[in-house]
């Protein structure tokens, strides 16, 4: 009889060990694929990722990146697009799918490159807020007592100011730039994750398998990282997906108000803001960047809803 190669054995063992989990995932995948709206969401997000990754191949015009010094004496990288005044405000055509703007730049190319900026904002803001929220919320929920009380009162206070307005005030204090919008959004967003995580930990903490781990002498960090966090990923994942869209909406709003990138950058909110005065004679200028925001946020919302439906057993009907 042939000897079974060790890799196959390894995979075999892995499959056996996680059999129930894999079955569960398969079932979730099946439910997800059955839902048309969830699939549309997934496709929209895949398109976003592809567009952001392959922007240089998809766009017909490309920005140059230059280092410029700011008022504060630091240097930042700025995006510069070539200006073609002879081609300004051209309507959509085979050459310019989305028309051109008031400086003759190709709006299609700018929307394509704008996906990179949007993607960066969403991912960084949500990733950092989630990380902060998991750590702080996890600690609060697990240890309870005075730490929990203090942390939760702090989150109460943050949640008492509407997102957009607190972020606006923080950006006003930090100075206008995309990076500052991201910092402001992180400051605004982490408390929601801290609360979510705390709730999850409280729910899982008293369950038997955690007590069992504690009774055999597992350390606090082992219980947290091996038992509690892995069992609270589902609601977190849903929230992260929905928030990727919500962050994009608020960030675009702040950009629209003029708090983000300097004019001429390929950023969707900013493009709508610059196109506003040309709206009645060049509808395409504000329309296409806005559609891009709508489709991406819609994608995240549909995907998030779909994930919630398949991961929440109560909703599996």
């Amino acid at each position: 009889m042939d000897k079974i190669p060790p890799q196959v054995k390894l995979i075999d063992n892995f499959l056996k060990k996680h059999e129930s989990k894999i079955k569960d995932l398969r079932f979730m995948g099946h439910l997800f694929r059955k839902s048309l709206l969830s699939m549309i969401g997934l496709i929209l997000i895949l398109i976003l990722i592809i567009v952001a990754l392959f922007a240089p191949f998809l766009a017909s015009q490309h920005p140059a990146y230059v280092r410029v010094s700011t008022d504060q004496g630091t240097t930042v990288t700025e995006e510069r697009w070539d200006i073609h005044f002879d081609q300004k405000l051209l309507p959509p055509s085979a050459e310019h799918f989305f028309g051109t703007d008031d400086y003759g730049r190709d709006i299609f190319s700018m929307v394509i490159y704008g996906s990179q900026t949007s993607f960066r904002i969403c991912i960084i803001v949500v990733a950092v807020s989630t990380l902060l929220g998991i750590i702080l919320g996890g600690i609060a929920g697990y240890f309870g007592g005075i730490i929990d009380e203090i942390l939760m009162r702090i989150t109460d206070i943050f949640l008492a100011v509407p997102y957009l307005i607190l972020a606006m005030a923080v950006t006003a204090a930090l100075g206008r730039s995309i990076d500052n919008i991201m910092q402001a959004l992180i400051i605004v967003w982490w408390p929601a994750y801290a609360r979510l995580m705390r709730g999850q930990v409280l729910a899982v903490r008293e369950q038997q398998f955690v007590e069992a781990a504690r009774s055999v002498g597992a350390s606090n960090s082992r219980i947290l990282f091996r038992h509690i966090f892995p069992n609270s990923y589902a609601p977190l994942l849903v929230q992260i997906t929905l928030d990727l869209g919500a962050v994009l909406l608020v960030a675009a709003g702040l950009s629209f108000l003029g708090l983000g990138a300097s004019p001429g950058t390929a950023e969707w909110g900013l493009m709508i803001s610059s196109g506003r005065i040309h709206m009645f004679h060049a509808w395409w200028y504000v329309t296409f960047p806005g559609l891009a925001i709508l489709l991406v946020v819609l994608g995240f919302n549909l995907l998030g809803d779909g994930l919630r439906d398949v991961t929440d057993p109560k909703l599996r009907r």
Partner: protein, 340 residues
């Protein structure tokens, strides 16, 4: 616990939250900026002597906790400093612009709440039918739309392509504002019996309040639908059916009342979104409210105005949620009995 006891308890709990909010705004205005004095003096182009005067006025050369003490004292007296853009106290500006924002928000709610609830009920009782799918799609688009883009698109369609609604403002250009009683134009024109201003102000409210309310409508619709579905699966609904109640009685008398409880909570939370959305909506519709004032202040480096606006909005939001909590306790006795 009696209802009034619950209310008093919640009112007392407001104090630490509002104090906490002042700590946040203090941190944002006095700690985060690289140079707070310059920020208060009007940003990058501030004159050195103004910066020096501001440093003295706001005690910025003293230890941080003493600065906070002065800051808190000012806020308690509703003194938010002077607005550079308008050369008058920020509190005067906010007081002048507040009614316009209030009017807009009220009308946004008036559109969002009934339509959201009715849509949610229709969606729930016709689950998985065509009308359910349509309302759900409207809802999911509703909270995926960038509000400022929706505003521009509505302007383009209804004020330009099919010019049936006004582009911006609160009244027709030639019209004088009704004499100020409440500051709400609709209210004032009713009180003074001026039907032309009433008509014009209602007419000007349509687009901005729809824009502002649409996301809230979507949120309420979604919440009503899911809680309706949950309630419809309860035992007492089955009991109702078993004893032969009509479907109408079951839906409106038994299911809806219980299904509305989560909807009320969501409405309170959505109010924060409305206040944030007002900044964008007012800017686009040139609506002379606090939101437009704040947006202009941020761009004009009018730091006092931005911070004053932030504190006021936080207080309004906290009080709005208090009202929701109280309403909740009145409707649902379990909240009171549960020990608050």
């Amino acid at each position: 616990m009696k209802t009034w006891e619950f209310i008093v308890r919640r009112l007392l709990l407001l104090i630490p939250v509002i104090l906490g909010v002042t700590i946040i705004t203090f941190t944002v205005s006095h700690v985060i900026p690289a140079d707070p004095a310059r920020a208060f003096a009007g940003g990058p182009k501030a004159q050195p002597e103004v910066i020096e005067r501001i440093t003295k006025e706001l005690h910025l050369d003293e230890p941080i906790w003493i600065q906070y003490f002065y800051y808190l004292n000012d806020i308690i007296h509703f003194n938010f400093g002077k607005s550079y853009l308008e050369s008058r106290p920020v509190s005067d500006s906010l007081a002048q612009y507040f009614p316009a924002t209030l009017e807009l928000t009220i009308f946004a709610m008036v559109i969002a709440i009934p339509l959201g609830i009715v849509g949610g009920i229709i969606s729930a009782i016709r689950r998985n039918k065509l009308s359910d799918h349509i309302t759900r799609i409207i809802a999911i688009i509703g909270y995926s739309l960038p509000i400022f883009w929706l505003a521009l698109m509505l302007q383009y369609v209804f004020a330009y392509q099919i010019p049936i609604l006004p582009l911006e403002g609160r009244l027709a250009i030639a019209m004088n504002a009704p004499s100020t009683i409440t500051g709400l134009y609709v209210m004032d024109s009713i009180l003074t019996g001026n039907l032309t201003t009433l008509g014009s102000s209602l007419y000007h409210l349509i687009l901005p309040s729809f824009t502002l309310g649409f996301a809230t409508l979507a949120l309420i619709l979604r919440m009503t639908r899911s809680s309706m579905l949950e309630v419809m699966g309860m035992d007492y609904i089955r009991t109702g059916r078993a004893k032969g109640l009509s479907e109408r009685t079951i839906i409106y008398k038994h299911a809806l009342r219980n299904a509305l409880i989560p909807t009320i909570t969501v409405t309170g939370l959505a109010f924060g979104g409305l206040l944030g959305g007002a900044v964008l909506t007012e800017t686009i519709f040139n609506w002379p409210g606090m939101g437009r004032f704040a947006a202009e202040a941020v761009l004009g480096f009018d730091f006092n105005a931005v911070m004053g606006f932030t504190i006021l909005v936080a207080i309004i939001y906290v009080v709005a949620n208090l009202i929701v909590d109280v309403l909740y306790a009145v409707i649902d006795p379990r909240v009171r009995l549960g020990g608050g």
